[in-house]
Assembly symmetry: C2
DNA sequence: ATCCTCCAGGAAAACGCTTTCCTCTGGTGA
DNA sequence: TCACCAGAGGAAAGCGTTTTCCTGGAGGAT
C-alpha cells in the first residue's frame, strides 16, 4: 500500500507539502508542485489511510447505528431515513445488527465507541430488563460524557435525544378499529414480551377495549416474535383455542401477513368472517390480498429525524420528538356483520 | 476520552504493560499489576481507540460491502448471508448503498480502501458501461495488488472471485413456464437496460421463446426500474399497448407485485385471464394473492458464499461459483386455456 | 561469593497522517 | 546597498496504540 511518504518521495517534495495538496489545506502551494504531487498520487493509486487521518485530525466523522436487523422491513425503512440524512451531511454510517440480543447490543456500543463515532443511534424497542438497561445507560453515559451524541428511536429509559413512535396511540387506533366496529371476541398476536414496544402497543389496545366496554383476556393474547412465521403459528394457536374470534390484531405487519396466510389456508374469509389489523404499514401491507388495514408509523421520517437530532448541536436538555401513528384503512377489516 | 496513557498513569504502570494486559498479549504479567490495570480501565470506562490500534497493528479486520440498496429485499437477503459469515469470523462489516449510481460506486471503493478493509464485496448487477467498468477494474486492481480481496456477486467483467447467479438460466425457466404453457402473446417487464442482470435474464427468456417457436417483439418489452411502482406503470403501458396479452413475465418480484396490483385494479383475473411470473423469490412472493410463480435464486446463500470466498485464502486463479436458479410454481401462472 | 540465566517491566520506535512552527528565498522600500 | 517582509516549503511534533528491544533484579548453579 502506497503511503504519503511514497507520494512525497516520488514527487520530490516533503510529506507536509504532499499532505497539504492532497487534503486541500488552505496553505498556498505553487502549481508546479501541485501538479507533480497529483501525478504521483495518480501513478501510485494513492488513497490516504483513513485511520491515520483520523488519528492526526482527531475529528470524528462516522456515525454508528444499532438496529435489530436491517433486513427486517421495519428497520430497513428506518435505516433508509437515517442514511439519507447522514450522507447528506457527508457522514459514513456503520450499521450493526443486534438481532435483539441485549448483550450484543452492549458489545456494539463498545465497538462504536472504539471506532470513535460522532454519534450512536439506537433504533428499535427497549427491553424490560433493568440490569441490561442500567448497563447500557452506563456505557452510553460514558460515551456522551466524552462528547459523543446519542439518539434513540423508541425507547424511553435511555439518556439522549429520542424519536418516540406513538405505540400506545397506535394500539389504541387499532383497538378502535375493531372494538369500534362492534367486534367482541378479538384475538391479539403480540410481539416478544420483553420488548417495550409490545407492552406499549398492547396498553393502547387495552385502553380502547375498556373504552368500548370490552376486555382482552390473556387467553386471547399470544406472544410471538414479530416475524411472519411465528405470527402464523400464533394465529393457528389462537384459532384453535378460541374458534369464536371475529377479529385479530397483530402488533406488526409481518405477523399480520402470517395471519392472513393461515386464514387463507383454513378457508376463513377476510374480512367477512374475520377482520385483521396490522401495525407499521410496511410496504407489503398494500400488496397482500385482502390489503391490510394497519397502523402507520412514519418509519423513514423517524430515521431521518433521529439522525438529524444526533448531528445537530447538543441541546441543553434531551429532546423528545413524537412520531404520530395513523390508521390506514384497507380491505382486511370491517365492522362486525350483525 | 480516556487514553491508554491515562489508564497506565492511574494504575502506576507503563503504557506498554497496560497495553499488554488490555489486549491480551502472550507476555506474562503479574496478577497484581493486571488487577490494578483492569481496575483503572473500569474506573475510567476506557475503550481502546480502534484507529490507533489499527495503525499500530497493521492488521486488517473490517470488510466492505457495496450494494444497490440494503432496504431492497433482494439485497437485504444477500446482506443477511454476508453478515452471517462475517460475524462468524469476527469481522465488522461496512455497508455502502450505491443506489445504482456508478460514480457513487467508485467513490465507495475509494472510501473502503481508505478504511483499509480486508475485502470488498460488490453485490448487484454490472453495468453496460465500458468506461465505468474500466475505471472500476482499475481501482479494484490497485486494491488487490496491495493485498485486498475482492469478491463480486453477479457481475462477470470484474477481477476477483465471483458468485454468479444463473440469470440466463432463470430467464429460460420463466420462458419455459409461459411458452411451454402455450402462451403466445407474452409481455415482459424488464429492469433497467444498462444492467447486465436485465440483459442476461432477457437472453434466457429469448432462448426459451425461440425454443418454442415464438418471439419477443420489442413492443412487448417494457423497461422499468426493478421496483414495484415502476413495474406497475410498465404493466399499464403493456396492457394499453397490447390488450391481447395472456402472460406477463416480470424480471423481478417487486415489479411482479406491481403487475398483480394493476391487474387487480383492472379486474383481470390471474391466472385464468393472465399468467404472471416473477423472478428472485423474495419473501413476499408467497404472500401476495394469487401467490407468485417465480424463479428462485438462493440469495442468502449467495451472500454467504461471496463472503466465504473473500475471507478464504486467495486462490491462484479467480474462482467462479454458480448459483442455480429454480422455478417455484405457485398460483399466478397456468397453461393457456384453449 | 561469583557468574549466569531468566523473566517482569519499561523505554522507545513505529504505524501514516496533519499541522505548527521554523527556515530560507526573493522581492520591496528606504 | 541594506534591512525587512512576505510567502513557499520543510522539519518535527504529535495523535493513541503495539511491539521490539533493553534493563535490572532475583534466583540458581558452581
Amino acid at each position: 500500500m502506497a503511503t504519503l511518504a511514497d507520494v512525497a518521495r516520488r514527487a520530490g517534495v516533503s510529506p507536509a507539502t504532499a499532505s497539504r495538496i492532497i487534503s486541500g489545506s488552505t496553505k498556498l502551494v505553487t502549481d508546479e508542485l501541485r501538479e507533480r504531487v497529483l501525478r504521483a498520487v495518480d501513478e501510485l493509486q494513492y488513497v490516504p489511510n483513513a485511520h491515520a487521518q483520523f488519528l492526526a485530525r482527531a475529528q470524528r466523522t462516522a456515525v454508528g447505528v444499532i438496529v435489530h436487523d436491517v433486513s427486517d422491513p421495519y428497520f430497513a425503512e428506518i435505516t433508509r431515513g437515517l442514511q439519507q440524512v447522514a450522507t447528506a451531511n457527508g457522514r459514513l454510517v456503520i450499521i450493526c445488527n443486534s438481532y435483539r440480543d441485549p448483550s450484543r447490543e452492549l458489545e456494539y456500543v463498545e465497538l462504536l465507541r472504539a471506532q470513535q463515532v460522532a454519534a450512536i443511534i439506537l433504533a428499535g424497542s427497549g427491553y424490560h430488563d433493568p440490569a441490561f438497561t442500567k448497563a447500557l445507560t452506563g456505557k452510553l453515559g460514558a460515551y456522551t460524557r466524552t462528547g459523543g451524541r446519542v439518539s434513540v428511536i423508541g425507547r424511553h429509559e435511555l439518556p439522549g435525544d429520542a424519536v418516540m413512535p406513538a405505540n400506545a396511540d397506535g394500539g389504541h387506533l387499532a383497538g378502535v378499529e375493531v372494538f369500534g366496529g362492534g367486534h367482541r371476541k378479538v384475538g391479539v398476536i403480540a410481539g416478544p414480551k420483553v420488548l417495550t414496544t409490545t407492552t406499549d402497543r398492547l396498553a393502547g389496545l387495552r385502553r380502547a377495549a375498556k373504552q368500548y366496554g370490552r376486555t382482552l383476556p390473556p387467553r386471547r393474547i399470544v406472544f410471538a416474535d414479530f416475524d411472519r412465521d411465528s405470527g402464523a403459528a400464533a394465529t393457528r394457536q389462537l384459532l384453535d383455542d378460541s374458534p369464536d374470534l371475529t377479529a385479530i390484531v397483530a402488533l406488526n405487519d409481518s405477523m399480520a401477513v402470517g395471519t392472513l396466510s393461515v386464514l387463507r389456508e383454513r378457508g376463513i374469509a377476510v374480512p367477512s368472517q374475520m377482520s385483521v389489523v396490522g401495525f407499521d404499514d410496511m410496504p407489503i401491507a398494500r400488496d397482500v390480498t385482502p390489503s391490510l388495514t394497519t397502523v402507520r408509523l412514519p418509519l423513514t421520517e423517524m430515521g431521518a429525524r433521529a439522525m438529524t437530532l444526533a448531528l445537530e448541536d447538543r441541546a441543553r436538555t434531551p429532546r423528545v420528538e413524537p412520531a404520530a401513528a395513523t390508521l390506514v384503512h384497507r380491505e382486511s377489516s370491517a365492522p362486525l356483520a350483525t
